[in-house]
């Protein structure tokens, strides 16, 4: 297997592995924020349904929570572009 890989054009191999690495970086970075945004929004909806008069305040805080959580996924997105072969 390794001999076959070594026989390939090494530039192509690096290119392919870079693409795989980019996919893994962004995919991995999206797992945590994906789950957490679900938790944040779900709890915000529960809070709004229980107390509709506090909806404005809850919405503001929800967007703040989303912004802080989402930043991690976006770091992964940027990092995926920074990786080069």
């Amino acid at each position: 297997m390794l001999h076959v890989l070594a026989a390939q054009d090494s530039g192509e191999l690096v290119q392919g592995l870079t693409a795989v690495g980019r996919g893994i970086v962004y995919g991995g970075a999206a797992i945590g924020p994906g789950i957490s945004i679900g938790i944040v929004v779900g709890n915000a909806i529960t809070a709004m349904a229980r107390q509709p008069e506090a909806a404005g305040m809850v919405r503001t805080t929800m967007f703040l929570g989303i912004a802080f959580t989402e930043a991690l996924a976006l770091f992964g997105f940027v990092l995926a572009f920074i990786i080069s072969g």
Partner: protein, 252 residues
């Protein structure tokens, strides 16, 4: 090449030719022109809106007043409180400028969000960093640093762990995450629209029928990007307000 489709490399999607002026870092390209246009749009919009003020607003004045009202009631009163109203002009400018810079993403002919290049988000994040630290030092003096690094209500051995984390997260990660959030959201939206446009064009050229689904998705995503543009402007402004508010009152 994916599935026989030729997607442009990312440098073709966001890097533009130097149009005129000097070369290198000070060259003028499409993104810079759009940024100047955004400044002009925001300035002219608020100038026209405030030129003939009426008690019962109509037309442009109505839009401008609802924008001011949104920043006052929706952002400042929710995060800082009454004493934050001093920052209304600054936050309103930030909100409208970021929004206009973002909305170029879906304007036909422009179709390039200015914030999809790192320069402008980084500059604005550094500006926000300077302002909230200035507000903190002005309101709390030298105790600002102590209040940031040593939040009260923590058992003292934990300060060994908490103080460096708080320092790094306040002074280093805040500007980074503020700029990267805006930049990456706009870049992702731009690439998403490009991908679907390329897909629709390729399928239209080969099969005609196959272009219906990606074409419909492209229209839907354009609408979604309007939402994202407004939301990112809102989030950038509200985080600025939160940072200024946090610098005004120490945590207790």
């Amino acid at each position: 090449m994916i599935l026989g489709l030729d997607f442009p490399p990312i440098s073709h999607a966001i890097e533009w030719r130097d149009l005129f002026g000097t070369h290198g870092a000070f060259a003028i390209n499409k993104v810079v022109l759009l940024m100047w246009l955004s400044v002009l749009v925001v300035a002219v919009f608020f100038f026209i809106a405030s030129r003939r003020q009426q008690l019962v607003p109509t037309g442009v004045q109505n839009v401008a007043e609802s924008a001011v009202d949104f920043v006052r009631e929706g952002i400042i009163m929710q995060t800082i409180g009454k004493e934050g109203l001093f920052y209304t002009p600054f936050l309103l400018t930030v909100f409208s400028f970021v929004f206009v810079c973002n909305i170029w993403e879906i304007i036909p002919g422009a179709q390039m969000p200015v914030n999809a290049r790192m320069a402008l988000p980084m500059l604005m994040a550094l500006l926000v960093w300077v302002i909230f630290n200035f507000v903190g030092v002005k309101n709390q003096g030298i105790r600002y640093l102590k209040n940031v690094c040593f939040p009260p209500g923590v058992p003292w051995p934990l300060y060994i762990l908490v103080a460096p984390i708080e320092f790094v997260s306040t002074f280093l990660v805040r500007p980074l995450s503020l700029s990267v959030r805006l930049f990456a959201n706009m870049l992702a939206g731009h690439l998403l629209l490009i991908s679907f446009a390329v897909l629709s064009t390729a399928l239209w050229n080969s099969t005609k029928v196959g272009a219906v689904l990606p074409g419909a998705l492209l229209i839907g995503l354009t609408g979604f990007e309007i939402l994202v543009s407004a939301l990112q402007a809102y989030i950038f402004t509200i985080l600025t307000a939160v940072y200024i508010g946090g610098a005004m009152h120490p945590e207790h």
